[in-house]
Symmetry: C2
């Protein structure tokens, strides 16, 4: 049996932010919600690489962490909207900085990332 030696601590700010954004699609979700893609089904269409399930899971976590608010409209067919909270909005500069950096360096990054096993990402033709 292993003995837990190291406690999880949230020492520096970076770790806190990472923790909030931890999850494969959280930052992408925030990115799209900020761009007025607010309904679950629209988000799912906007992020086809993610499964419905994870998206729901991560939306729940974002809500729990106070970054988005969830409004359920009591109607048929059901309608739900996610909105950024003030806290979520305050994160936008970070998200958009990530978006911009990623796009700017896409050409450099893609081959490098493809070389690692973690993201296969073969465009497959």
């Amino acid at each position: 049996m292993y003995q837990k030696k190291i406690e999880r601590t949230l020492d520096c700010g970076v770790v806190l932010t990472k923790e909030v954004l931890h999850g494969k699609w959280k930052s992408t979700l925030l990115h799209f919600i900020a761009r007025d893609v607010r309904r679950p089904s629209d988000l799912q269409r906007a992020i086809p690489s993610a499964t419905r399930r994870v998206l729901n899971l991560q939306l729940n976590e974002l809500e729990q962490h106070g970054l988005v608010s969830k409004t359920i409209f009591p109607q048929l067919p059901p309608k739900v909207e996610y909105h950024l909270t003030r806290l979520g909005e305050s994160l936008l500069p970070v998200i958009e900085a990530m978006e911009q950096w990623g796009n700017e360096h896409r050409a450099t990054l893609e081959p490098l990332l493809a070389a690692t096993p973690r993201s296969a990402s073969e465009p497959a033709g």
Copy 2:
């Protein structure tokens, strides 16, 4: 047996950046390397919450992804230094934005994060 339905793709910039920063301590490592903590043992001391192992692993990945360069000084005792590459430096604004946001909202975030199972983070005293 399940069949893989969804391919990993790196659609939007956010995903690329997340991919690069994926790993529990990568952003923290970059943060510290930027602040002149360059030797592995110093980084390990700076981030006591992380194991030696992961830190090495993630430093390797950062190097593979072109964010840091590794210099091995052929001397005894061994000496290694990590430096940010130009690419790594270009990521700094993002990291520092994360650091700042995390620190600014620490008071709000910590209770929320503590409520989720993922990061226990009980200060234990």
